[in-house]
C-alpha cells in the first residue's frame, strides 16, 4: 500500500516539474563533400550544452560500429569535446543514440521530446553542438543556440571545413 502511494506521488511530481512539451528538435546537419585523396565519412556527435558549457545530453553519435578495430569505439575520443563532457560517461553502442556514419549531403534529423536527452530537458537556453572528426582529416565543432520550451525560429551556423550548415529549430 505504501509503495503504490509513493509511486503515485513520484509520478505526480514528475508531471509537475516538466510541463508537457509537445516540441521536437529539428536538426539539419550538412556533411560537406570533400575532394581528398582518402575520404572516410566523419564520426559525428550531436549533443546539447547548457549555459555553463556542460553537456545536458547526447542526441546522436555516428560512428563505425561495424569496424573490425574495436567496433569503432577506438576513435570516439577524437570527438574530443563531446568525449570529455559526455561520451566517456556512456557505454557503446548506446541505445537510441548510436548510428552509422552518414554520407555527404544534408542530413535531416528529428529528435522527439518524448525520448532520450530531450525527455525531461528543462525549458531554457541551450546550445546544440555538432562535432565532427574524420579519419586522416580534420576536426570541427559547430554550435547553434536554441531555446527549449516553445517553438521558435530556425537558427543556424556554418562550419568551415568538416561541417557545412547546421540548422536547429524547435517545433
Amino acid at each position: 500500500m505504501k509503495r503504490s502511494v509513493s509511486l503515485l506521488t513520484f509520478a505526480g511530481a514528475a508531471v509537475g516539474a516538466s510541463p508537457a512539451l509537445a516540441a521536437d528538435l529539428n536538426v539539419t546537419v550538412e556533411i560537406p563533400r570533400l575532394s581528398v585523396a582518402e575520404y572516410h565519412r566523419p564520426y559525428v556527435s550531436i549533443w546539447i550544452e547548457t549555459a555553463d558549457a556542460s553537456a545536458a545530453g547526447t542526441l546522436a553519435v555516428w560512428y563505425d560500429a561495424d569496424s573490425k578495430e574495436d567496433h569503432g569505439t577506438k576513435w570516439l575520443k577524437d570527438m574530443r569535446q563531446w568525449w570529455r563532457k559526455a561520451g566517456r560517461e556512456m557505454s557503446f553502442p548506446a541505445d537510441g543514440v548510436s548510428g552509422a556514419t552518414r554520407a555527404p549531403g544534408p542530413q535531416k534529423l528529428v529528435f522527439s521530446s518524448a525520448k532520450g536527452a530531450l525527455k525531461g530537458l528543462k525549458p531554457g537556453q541551450y546550445t546544440l553542438v555538432v562535432e565532427a572528426a574524420r579519419e586522416v582529416g580534420g576536426h570541427e565543432a559547430v554550435r547553434v543556440p536554441f531555446v527549449w520550451g516553445k517553438p521558435g525560429k530556425p537558427a543556424s551556423a556554418k562550419g568551415s571545413a568538416e561541417l557545412g550548415t547546421v540548422t536547429v529549430a524547435v517545433k
Partner: protein, 293 residues
C-alpha cells in the same frame, strides 16, 4: 668544511659526480602515444628517454628496470614489448581496464658516508640496501636521501583517481584538475605533497614539447600555495614536461627526472671522501597533455 675544500672534495670524487653534473640539462621523460583513449581494445605505446630537447631522444635511452605500470584498480602490470635502443626505450601498455593508468618509476636513493676503523666508507643505493649494508649507529654517519618520481598518466574511457592515492614518499601529484582533463587555455590546478604534506612554495616548471621548432623554451614556472596547490594555464595544446624539486641540506648529485645512474664499472678506486653533510631531495617529473580546446 670551507667552500673551497668542499669543491676539492667534489673534484676528488671524480667520475661519479662529473656525469650527473654534466647531465643537469638532461630531462628524463615517458611519452605516451595518447593520454585520452576510448574503447576496450586500447593500447598505448610509450617512449622513454633522457634528452636535451623535448621530446626528441637525443641523448640516452631511459632504463626500464624501474618502470611500473599501475592499472586503475591499483594492481601493477609489466610493460609489454619493452626494448631499449640507442636513444630511447619503448614499451606498450594494454589498457585492459577502464580508468586512469599511471606509468613510470618512483624510487629512493641514499648516499652515505661514515667512519669505520678510522677509514671513510661510502655507500650509494636503495633504502633497503642501506639498511642492510650500513651498520646501525655508524660513526660520523652522513646521509643524502633522494626520492625521484617520473611518470605519466593515460585514461581509457572515464578517468579515475585510484592511482593518485598518496604514498607519502617524495613529491607526489594530487589531482584537483585530473591530468587527463587538461585543455589548452583553461586554468587547471594540481596539488603537490612532499612526504605526504602540502609542498608549500614548491616551484613547478612546465615546458612544452616541440622545442626544435620554437625559438624559446616557453617554460612556465608556478609557485605552490600553502596547501601545495599550483594553478596554471597551458597556452597551447600539446605535450608538456612537468618538473619540480625540493632540496634541503647537502645536494645529492642528479639531473631532474633521471633514473639512478649505474655504477661506473672499473672506476678508479680513489680514497673515499666523507659527505659534506646531511641532505634530502625529492623530484617529480611527468609528461602531461593539454588537449586542443
Amino acid at each position: 668544511m670551507t667552500l673551497k675544500t668542499r669543491l676539492l672534495a667534489v673534484a676528488a670524487a671524480g667520475l661519479a659526480l662529473a656525469a650527473p653534473l654534466a647531465a643537469n640539462a638532461h630531462r628524463g621523460w615517458l611519452l605516451p602515444s595518447f593520454t585520452v583513449l576510448s574503447g576496450d581494445g586500447s593500447w598505448v605505446t610509450v617512449d622513454a628517454a633522457i634528452s636535451n630537447e623535448l621530446f626528441y631522444p637525443d641523448h640516452r635511452p631511459m632504463r626500464l628496470d624501474g618502470a611500473t605500470v599501475t592499472a586503475p584498480d591499483g594492481s601493477t602490470q609489466k610493460p609489454q614489448n619493452a626494448s631499449t635502443g640507442q636513444y630511447r626505450s619503448t614499451f606498450d601498455v594494454q589498457l585492459n581496464q577502464a580508468g586512469t593508468w599511471k606509468i613510470g618509476s618512483a624510487s629512493g636513493t641514499i648516499q652515505a658516508s661514515w667512519t669505520e676503523n678510522g677509514e671513510v666508507k661510502r655507500f650509494r643505493g636503495s633504502p633497503e640496501d642501506f639498511a642492510s649494508q650500513v651498520p646501525a649507529g655508524a660513526a660520523d654517519l652522513k646521509t643524502i636521501r633522494s626520492f625521484n618520481r617520473n611518470e605519466t598518466y593515460v585514461s581509457r574511457d572515464k578517468p579515475s583517481t585510484e592511482v593518485f592515492k598518496p604514498t607519502g614518499k617524495g613529491l607526489e601529484l594530487v589531482p584537483v584538475t585530473h591530468p587527463n582533463d587538461l585543455v589548452a587555455t583553461e586554468t587547471a590546478t594540481f596539488r603537490f605533497l612532499v612526504d605526504g604534506k602540502p609542498a608549500e612554495g614548491l616551484e613547478v616548471t612546465f615546458i612544452p614539447g616541440g622545442s626544435r621548432w620554437r625559438a624559446s623554451p616557453g617554460e612556465i614556472k608556478v609557485k605552490a600555495s600553502a596547501d601545495g596547490a599550483v594553478k596554471f594555464t597551458l597556452p597551447e595544446a600539446g605535450m608538456y614536461w612537468v618538473n619540480a624539486t625540493v632540496r634541503s641540506g647537502e645536494a645529492g648529485a642528479r639531473g631532474p627526472g633521471m633514473a639512478p645512474p649505474a655504477a661506473a664499472p672499473g672506476a678508479p678506486a680513489a680514497p673515499a671522501q666523507p659527505l659534506a653533510g646531511n641532505g634530502y631531495s625529492a623530484s617529480y617529473t611527468a609528461v602531461i597533455e593539454a588537449q586542443r580546446p
